[in-house]
Symmetry: C2
Subunit: 362 residues, 2 copies
């Protein structure tokens, strides 16, 4: 790449603001991840400048864009949309909207970030809201699970859109040329589940979206890593994700308690600590920071509000990789291909679409 | 209790049949759980009698009821209903239907057991299918989660029924006089979720079903043990349960791998094994065997098909406790109380029911 990649950062978002975000950017140099990258830092001028000054490597590739306010972590999305103009989050997204920056990262209020992103960037095609992706550690690597919370009601078409976007995301991030896709259900037989999931199963199975669709998967297939991408509605996905995060924390607490219950097990824990350290944490779906909002005309990555510098750095790395892979164009193209097929088939909407799709050119 | 409690057992169900089921009953003596209990063992005469003969304590309190066939583990429910007559499962359920036995346990085919139970025992009130309960280990004990798979689509009324039945179940099993209840959602604010969950929230919050309703809970509240009973539709509940089971297995595998990765950690594991042994298994929702089918006119407990004698014994213990607490009458009474209130309110169905319920006598 000749031109440096410009990444927009909401320097005020999250629990810690610049004091974590600027060191996070500095970490990326140590990891060799920021060649040909520059940053736009949106934040309070004095506070941000003060921190940047202590990290010369960051200062050398960053431009400070002063903003006049910060969207609070408990602000309602509607309020953020009406009154958020001029805030660090608003301006950080605007840098992507104008085409100046190629991606934006914020650790701020999720609802506000989603509302402001939709307002400024707009959705691709006929989608209503972005899909949230969880990067879920599995016994075979990382599975991308979507949607994990933004779209509570999903018809069959929406689930197909998630499959298309999830494949593009997984490919962009992990380099898998044709990620395998599963549809989350309560059984693998085709009569299982509700109309929406059965409808999506029919569409994905018949319509040849150039996806490696493997059919229904069940909850335990997530941790097994049976497929690269697990597609589900935002209600089910959110519950599954939080249930797993809760269990992972429970497991960590119990492991700690078991290993400090008496002197003998303390000794055992001390001896085995190299093997145990971080093991339970690594299996927590919350351990992989950075959730993209898929389906926007632009790359937006949400970082956990409480994440540390290592976590925020991971979210920035994800944004860089998604920008380099030009995921927005990929999604637009793949969704567009589907729209074309729908037009050929004379379809207006709904799930009962594809009768003889196999007869069509792929 | 003057009369002994008569429990009906499908001796042929599950992967192992009498060779595990009879020893399981014998275990209950060791645990002091079978005073004043007698068993009806439905199974192949020769095979069952041969095993029973080697367990004199079981033989002394059991009556063998010969059956002529076994429902296979892969039989379709419809087929089991049509052709299952005379099988050990069919006859075991029939003993409850006639009033002879107070509960039935089977480790056989879940779909067949549900179909045969519905056909013979019928549902209480206007319910369509039984709810399946998971006994979920948490940091504070055990949380009852329902439905975990039988009812894929649930309107607000159905969710209220689950709350009523879940409370009766938790009280019967754990002795908590007023179990706390939470409704599973993607957030705790009242505007979160879909119509069904918001409708149930309104009903449970306003209508005073004599339940300790605590409002919405999220996925991570399950492992925290925030409430005694978590209510959800069968789709979401099934996905959450299987996701957690998958994660628990993943933990176990990783823990084993971490502790045998090199000599040092092997030594540590050896020293700490007392503390670690079974820890990861104990946290697995699959570790507590025995799932009741709630909402039938009679007590039916499903055991895992692959469970060992200890697991099957736990399912039998559950059936005994539910029978002693007379959970069927409790559910009928509590659902009936709701029906009466609905009649007073002039309600025919649907979710938009209770306008001024607070004004009514409790």
């Amino acid at each position: 790449v000749a031109d440096p990649l410009l990444i927009s950062v909401d320097a005020m978002g999250g629990d810690h603001g610049p004091s974590v975000i600027v060191p996070a950017l500095d970490r990326l140099f140590g990891l060799g991840l920021v060649r040909e990258v520059r940053f736009l830092l949106h934040g309070d001028e004095a506070e941000t400048a003060k921190t940047v000054r202590t990290f010369p490597r960051v200062a050398a590739v960053s431009e400070l864009r002063p903003s006049t306010s910060v969207i609070s972590s408990d602000a309602k999305p509607a309020h953020a949309m009406r009154r958020g103009r001029g805030s660090s989050m608003w301006n950080a997204v605007a840098s992507v909207q104008t085409g100046e920056a190629r991606a934006v990262i914020s650790a701020g209020n999720t609802g506000a970030l989603m509302a402001i992103s939709r307002l400024q960037l707009r959705m691709v095609g006929g989608m209503e809201r972005p899909a949230l992706v969880a990067n879920w550690p599995t016994s075979r690597g990382v599975t991308s699970v979507l949607d994990v919370g933004a779209n509570i009601l999903c018809d069959a078409d929406r689930l197909v859109e998630f499959a298309i976007m999830g494949a593009a995301f997984h490919r962009s991030l992990h380099g898998t040329s044709r990620p395998s896709i599963g549809l989350l259900n309560v059984g693998v037989e085709s009569e299982k589940g509700h109309d929406e999931v059965r409808g999506a199963h029919r569409l994905l199975g018949e319509a040849r979206f150039d996806l490696d669709y493997r059919g229904f998967v069940e909850g335990d297939d997530i941790a097994k890593g049976t497929v690269d991408v697990v597609v589900t509605d935002g209600f089910t996905g959110n519950v599954a994700l939080k249930t797993a995060e809760g269990l992972a924390r429970f497991f960590r607490d119990e492991l700690r308690a078991a290993l400090t219950s008496n002197l003998i097990s303390k000794i055992g824990a001390f001896v085995a600590q190299g093997a145990l350290r971080g093991m339970a944490r690594r299996l927590d779906p919350a351990s992989v920071n950075g959730s993209p909002f898929l389906g926007l005309n632009g790359i937006v990555v949400k970082s956990h509000g409480s994440s540390d510098a290592a976590g925020f750095a991971h979210a920035v790395e994800m944004a860089i990789n998604l920008a380099r892979a030009d995921i927005t164009s990929a999604i637009e193209r793949d969704l567009g291909r589907r729209e074309t097929r729908r037009a050929i088939l004379g379809v207006v909407g709904g799930s009962e679409i594809v009768a003889n799709a196999e007869a069509l050119p792929a």
